[in-house]
Symmetry: D2
Subunit: 292 residues, 4 copies
């Protein structure tokens, strides 16, 4: 059901937008802001757990969070599956589990396990094409919902392997059954991404992550026929800035009044967490005099 | 060790301040802002999990998060233990577990299980004094670290039982072995809290949570001899406002550029999650040519 | 799907049998022995976790195990939900979660939280009828699968409240929407159970747990029109005896040879855990030369 | 504390014996049978979870079980750490976590991630010596307890690399800081193990796992100066046989009486799970009339 929604978004003519979320709370907020789909980001989930984006969090820790997100929103979630948390067999287990939990799709990248974040300096190694194709096939064979989306992400540009290698890999992953290709770049402008898109000729939906080239006007992406744009980490980055600012102010002043402009109300928290629904339910399910 | 630090803070002559945290990330930020101790808030941990503050999250879910927080900061953490997650036996299990995990203390409140948030409208029921004293004794008998802090929180004022009942309960909890008393109020001003403090006469450290009476100048608390002030939910509330603002802007503009003033850098996320420490460690532990 | 199977079993004319399981491994074994449905026992799951049957294990710990069991067998699982892990709201959360995870049904008992095991000496307190009816209604309203089975278990006989109270409660739970009634007894013979069944007149399927009255011939249950018999703890009890015997022998002899009659082969473990399926999958998904 | 006990056992003059456990319950039983230390086996923990011994279980799943075992016994536990659940960085995280949880030591093997069980047919690949040395160093640098034991297990014989490679690797791991060497073999007799031991000359304590060569008299191991013998999977294998036997009998007979010889009593389960301790504690902590 959510898988069908995600598939329709990705395969639609328009350029669509996915907003990062890293917790049920942030997922709920992104949904309320109007986003039609969410990106369960490995970087920001790791960050909220306080660990580096190097598969320090175990796959069951990550799945627990993404499952809880899926429980709390009705828009579809595309999960950042890193390099698959191991080999093809770990991919199978993860996809079965996520698919059962109502997650709409997974994105797998052609790096080794444990991975490092794409924006980290230093050499990064690509997985062999054959091994990664096996993971895509294993993912497709393991999904429970026929509309579950498997995105193949190539890190060829990130790893400095060049555009031809990127195109070649995208082709091979497409043949292996990927439902969409994510082409990642860490350039400060969209040059190599646009060149890739031009050559790709919309063979299969193309997804991009404009973190480093965020200044590129969105019309450029639309004209290039990009299927989906992922705003991959902006919610967690906004939360860090805000938490730092407020905790600094409160620490400095030793006073937490007069912050209403910067912090939501407690009542807002209640609303976001279904407090009022539970209170109504008390009337239905709790006999008079048994309120705890 | 962290327990000793928390005990010293609570027993010091000065009024000290604890900042709420709900994740390892927010804990780290609060520590960097200068706070000497943290409050692992039940409300905000529940909120980040997307569930109401009514013990919808299981105690092991909450403990997992608080343990991860304790792993990531060196300042002590006082855990919001709600009403103890069940009876005295659940309290024993939780205290042993938390004490082993390096959490510095726990706060238990004299309500039933499952509890409701103190600021929720509607009648709330107090636990019997005897049953709650049993929980305090069970907590004290179960701590592994002799300096582990058990705070007894009375909800007598919240539940409308009056100041005399609050004082009576505080006394009984003190006798049962509580290391400090948390007196909670939902008035818009500090009146009943100040009156309580005056009568209490510093028999045992007094802790307050000025959420609804946040406009009260902190000097008032100092003069009243309050041992600790907990800023109980401001970090999560700041994050909600910021995430809502940024996701709305990005959704509206379909563009994520020009937000540098409002969101931290990706590099900042790396620093907060020890990415650079791991990269240095790679040089020590990974042989040349084996970087993944 | 599995819920439909369980419903059919319970509503069939024949007396059916559920075997206890406490882990995916024991679930698999019980399925291979021919049982058409399993009982995920609170006592034996707690025991395998090394904790008392008093809700020491959190509900998410228990659910994690039952979910993993459901992943590994195709026969339906009825989960022992104790007294619902809290109030109606916790029941809602558990039922939604289990129903999503493919568990076929839940059994709720009319005791307080935390519960104590029914066979433990000492007074036990029944929940109020109204509060427990609220839990049943909440459970029925929260199931995702229309065939999900909610069993209402009355502990009236266990708590010494008598047969009339047991019948009255069973009636009220039936009216509240329970799909079956579990009537529990700790007598050494089936007397009170048979009397209850006679009076109940098959208004709704009746489930029994002949742990203390295990000597009663099964024909007696069949004649009485019992819908389901739960063998509630025999698998874990067999495992305890066997593990104790083998570890004692090995310790005494300081030698682990010549035990083939008493322990299964390692190959048997491989078969039970799908090792050979994974090896076959390696041929499909792993390119030559990449076997890890 | 438990680490100190394990270190003393391993470094003692005598040949010592570790019994496998895969759950808190089996750990308790092995301790009661007299074993002075336990082996938290990856194969049997995976088996109890119903998954293959190929790192299908996440490291946090495994750690959760081993932590719970450590909570329930006072004898030290050596944890089977497979190939470290990833690279050196995952090893660091696991060791810090286990060391904090009171686990006495970890055994790391020089295979890739995800690993396959040593007794599975088919080619298995060894890790590079340098990469594995990095893991040992990372483990030693991460332990919180100075007596925490890091065992380096070489699979050189398992992978067909020969005795010289095995000795060379053992030497290099010793130099990297390993506290003991585990030399594994899948031969039906102890030949290659004895030859290895002879050449090793007790440079560092030697640990063996006589699963396939279980018929070898223990005196042979003693004479060879083996420090520790691990009975690596016998408890779970005994439980499988017993559960299969009992569930088959009960299914066939549709009757669970007359099995007292084969299954422990319910009371025995109570005793093993501290039921009576809790009941006593009720008297201390629960006021009269509040028993739940």
């Amino acid at each position: 059901m959510t898988a069908t929604k995600l598939r329709q978004l990705i395969e639609s003519e328009d350029t669509e937008f996915l907003m990062e979320a890293h917790s049920p709370l942030s997922a709920r907020i992104a949904e309320e802001s109007g986003f039609k789909a969410l990106w369960a980001s490995g970087l920001s989930i790791s960050a909220s757990l306080g660990v580096s984006d190097r598969n320090e969090a175990s796959w069951t820790e990550v799945l627990g969070i993404v499952e809880a997100m899926a429980d709390r929103v009705s828009v579809p979630i595309l999960m950042d599956g890193d390099s698959g948390f191991g080999n093809f067999n770990n991919v199978r287990r993860v996809v079965r589990h996520m698919s059962k939990a109502g997650v709409a799709g997974i994105c797998l990248e052609d790096k080794l396990f444990p991975k490092a974040n794409s924006f980290v300096d230093g050499p990064q190694e690509l997985a062999s094409v054959e091994e990664f194709r096996g993971k895509i096939m294993a993912a497709k064979d393991s999904q429970l919902d026929p509309d579950f989306v498997v995105v193949a992400r190539t890190e060829a540009l990130i790893c400095g392997a060049g555009r031809d290698e990127a195109l070649c890999r995208a082709n091979r992953y497409d043949e292996a059954g990927a439902d969409a290709i994510l082409i990642h770049s860490k350039q400060a402008h969209a040059g190599e991404i646009m060149e890739f898109a031009r050559r790709w000729e919309r063979r299969r939906p193309l997804i991009i992550v404009p973190t480093t080239y965020s200044q590129t006007p969105t019309d450029v992406f639309k004209t290039a026929g990009i299927a989906c744009v992922i705003w991959a980490n902006h919610s967690v980055r906004a939360s860090v800035s805000a938490m730092r600012r407020i905790t600094s102010i409160i620490h400095e002043r030793a006073y937490a009044g007069d912050l209403d402009h910067d912090i939501c109300t407690v009542d807002d928290i209640f609303r976001l967490t279904n407090e009022y629904e539970v209170r109504d339910a008390e009337r239905r399910y709790l006999a008079p005099g048994t309120v705890g």
